[in-house]
Amino acid sequence: MKSYPISIKPFGERAVLVEWPEKVSESILADILDFMDAFKELEIPDWEMSVAYNSLTMVYNQDHIDFEETKNMILECHEKQAKSKTERIQHLWTLPVCYDLEFGMDIEEASKTLGLSVKELIEQHTSHQYVVYGIGFLPGFMYLGGLPSTLEIPRRAEPRLKVQKGSVGLASKQTGIYPQDSPGGWNIIGNCPVDLFNPMKDDPCFVKVGDKIQFERISKAEYKLHKIEGEVGIYEPEKVVLNA
């Protein structure tokens, strides 16, 4: 696979921003993840990296950095990256969503705006796989790509002061889940009973950038069951390895 060109910009005293071509693309994301793997192989402690679509923010927690020196180190690593491909395990997660009106308070209005029936909207939302292009904004919030254009709908004119934890929303080219109660302007179509962020677990956020998500329609009874299973810690979302 070809490597994309990168540009490196200073970002304050201890960080740099590495940017790939400005597109939402799975092959660009794969290239970023390859670069991250190559950089991790250098085993330089105290660097942390976070991906968002076509960019990687790299922060050195230890000290201030010399930009030119850092830039050269990154370019060198990027150069070598193609030669040292590591195996990466990525998952497809099936996340249950209850689309009942009780949770999806905007689903009827959204369907109308989109010219679909509620059933069609749910079928379309659950029939696609969405790529995780980044985790940010709130702990455990996934930036998902791959929403069909038939589900693109503007944000609500007035954001809500409180959107309930687990709410599944639609807004322009994005769909996603609010991992905690939060203000928000997305159109809420359902609720996912799975904890996307749990700081008490060894791995507080089971989804990784590069994974895929597919939603599965569940009934309210199943929703309640999953919620209880989650609280007692026995619920594991369904997953398959993508690149086995």
Binding site: F11, E13, L17, E22, T57, G136, P139, G140, M200, V209
Partner: protein, 279 residues
């Protein structure tokens, strides 16, 4: 234990922050004014990352249940121990039952209470900094108890220092942000020629400035943000992200505060004036 008799306006446990979890969207959190925390901890010969209490404008009333030593730093807020005035930047001996309380704010916005050995709340994701939902609560409430270890007969190397406060000036040093090149000559003149004031919208997540500059219609893909990142909204509002700020954002990042300037801004409140200086 330190018992919270009155919580004050916004009192939190903070160390220097929660590092290594940006990739799952966890903000760094940690003390807003790192400079002041380091000084208070240094005076007690603590580790600079030992947890302190961060108080905001209106201080709490607190009662200690075992012997220890504390030092106060940051904003100048009249503080008393059992109704006797105490000063910032001095090592103060605390006995069982002593009550620390606060009065009028004189300078700055955020004060710190460091304690010998640091506050011992449970670490979550490698840090004691309070940030909901990583920690169970966002701040201290009435009746909360904050653990610390007993210290008797400590002989401080230095018991008091005179300090020239870093936050007496109002010039914020900024670097070019990733989208700096989007700024027109007109916008640059607006930003650097005029003073700005802190708006009512200011907290541990972000400081918004009251005055607008010329807006823009640039749209970009969501990308990383840091404490000290200055975002420009399409309407021309400058938003400066602080320690609890989100890890990603979709507005152009025009400027980036120096770390020293984050500590200065942390001590500014609604209506205070600021100037930017490009370095």
């Amino acid at each position: 234990m330190l018992k919270v008799l009155k919580p004050g306006l916004y009192t939190t446990v903070q160390d220097l922050g929660r590092y290594g979890h940006r990739d799952i969207g966890v903000p760094i959190a940690g003390a807003m004014d790192v400079e002041s925390v380091k000084k208070a901890n240094l005076l007690l010969e603590n580790d600079e990352n030992d947890a302190v209490l961060e108080i905001t404008m209106t201080g709490p009333t607190l009662q200690f249940d075992t012997d220890t030593y504390i030092s106060l730093s940051g904003a100048h807020i009249v503080a008393t121990l059992n109704n006797e005035p105490i000063d910032n930047y001095s090592v103060i001996k605390i006995g069982k039952g002593d009550i620390l309380s606060y009065g009028r704010l004189e300078l700055g916005f955020r004060g710190y209470i460091a304690i010998k050995g640091g506050f011992q709340t449970k670490k979550v994701l490698d840090s004691r900094s309070q940030f909901y939902p990583v920690t169970k609560s966002a701040r201290l409430k009435d009746g909360d108890e904050v653990p610390y270890s007993e210290t008797k007969n400590y002989e401080p190397k230095i018991s008091e220092v005179k300090i020239e406060e870093h936050f007496e000036n109002n010039i914020l040093k900024v670097y070019k942000g990733p989208e700096f090149s989007l700024l027109s000559d007109g916008q640059l003149t607006e930003i650097f020629a005029k003073p700005y004031t802190v708006s009512k919208e200011n907290n541990r997540m972000a400081y918004q400035l009251s005055e607008l500059i010329t807006g823009h219609s640039h749209s970009m893909l969501t990308s990383g943000t840091l404490p000290g990142t200055i975002q420009l909204t399409p309407a021309g509002r400058m938003i400066i992200l602080m320690k609890d700020g989100q890890t990603t954002g979709g507005y152009p990042r025009i400027l980036q505060l120096s770390e020293e300037s984050i500590s200065i801004l942390a001590q500014k409140k609604y209506g205070d004036e600021l100037k930017f200086k490009l370095v």
